[in-house]
Symmetry: C2
Subunit: 227 residues, 2 copies
């Protein structure tokens, strides 16, 4: 009996359900590329068919009907940050969090400032609810998005610019969970033409990160489902 030889069997058997434009899926794509995982990508179109995330088959994997979902080893894991922490625990190299507890808290704080306080408030389903239940026109909904981004980015800019821990990336000179959240959020900001000039630290880190192969490979425009 022959068996196939794989260099890194622990990096196989991952599938990611995502959508090129979802910044939450983008985070997980960055983490997968940083960890050297060649995941199988499965595409869930958030706008077609009334939203493929509401399909019963997808709902069985993720009852929140949100993307992304990672499947691995018989488990389905939703919530992008739960997925990234999982990847960091089962594949520790390269680490996505610093080793010291204070540094880990700093990185998580930066990450959650995006993942809790900017992203969900601006998510597609909130946008649709504002449109449908509040009859909010496109212009007011774009203003809404810019408002929460600007508030969050101002705080993150202050954290980054006043801390000696900030390096080429948000924490030191290698990518962490903070960059994994920040870079996709900056891509969203560009989509709504937010003026980013008040955030020089963010722009500098964004430029560094986007030149990194893992971030480049994970970018929305580089995905097979990109439109």
């Amino acid at each position: 009996m022959t068996s196939s030889v794989t260099a890194h069997p622990e990096r196989e058997g991952f599938a990611l359900y995502g959508y090129f434009r979802s910044s939450a899926a983008y985070r997980v794509r960055i983490a997968l590329h940083l960890k050297g995982v060649a995941a199988e990508y499965r595409f869930v179109h958030l706008l077609k068919d009334g939203g493929q995330q509401h399909d019963p088959a997808y709902r069985a994997l993720n009852p929140q009907e949100l993307i992304p979902t990672l499947t691995h080893d018989g488990h389905a894991i939703g919530q992008s940050l739960a997925i990234v922490e999982y990847l960091d625990e089962i594949l520790p190299e390269p680490p996505l969090l610093p080793k010291d507890a204070v540094g880990r808290a700093r990185v998580r704080q930066l990450a959650y400032a995006v993942a809790c306080d900017i992203h969900p408030v601006n998510n597609l389903r909130v946008n649709l609810y504002l449109r449908d239940a509040f009859s909010a026109p496109e212009e007011k909904r774009v203003e809404w998005q810019r408002h929460w981004m600007a508030l969050g980015f101002a705080a993150i800019e202050e954290w980054l610019s006043r801390s000696p821990e900030t390096g080429r990336f948000c924490h030191g000179d290698t990518p962490t969970l903070a960059d994994i959240c920040l870079i996709p959020q900056l891509a969203n900001a560009r989509r709504v033409a937010l003026d980013l000039s008040p955030y020089p630290a963010l722009l500098r880190i964004d430029e560094t990160a986007r030149a990194h192969p893992a971030f480049a490979a994970a970018a929305p425009g580089a995905q097979p489902d990109a439109e």
Copy 2:
């Protein structure tokens, strides 16, 4: 020279900036009580003085101008979940996350379903923005809150009811990060009179948790700043 004797010096020197009604501060209070930390509580009234979270002195600690903030060992940490993970790392007993990576992912997924997808969308500042920029009346804003809670709770109910990992608490028979997020969110749901009868697993866990001394001590009504 004499020195004061303390039984648990590693559990001293913590201060929490919070507000009795904030469900994010409530999470951290539960974690502090579970860890046996007698933190000093400092009160930031979110409605008085135009919101004390916007005071320059508080802003210096937390540029997001959100509560809670934990100070410890010369560091100020914002974002409730960053604080809870920090506490769990520096004071490992009792653990707030399971030992296995899949279990940790499950608990974080449940926690983030509350902390990312329900709470920030319903936060005070969003409520005020809906009132001021969208002229949304009280009734529509309460409906908004109920909508996001009901969506999130339905998904969590499904996760909990279909998993053999669910025990007396969300994951097994001891409290984790998932319960730390869920119980304060259920308190918020009662404040807007959401019908909780579709969520029997949540109600059962809520009853168990609220009988636990750490959860009882952390409840909004038990705080010195309660109104």
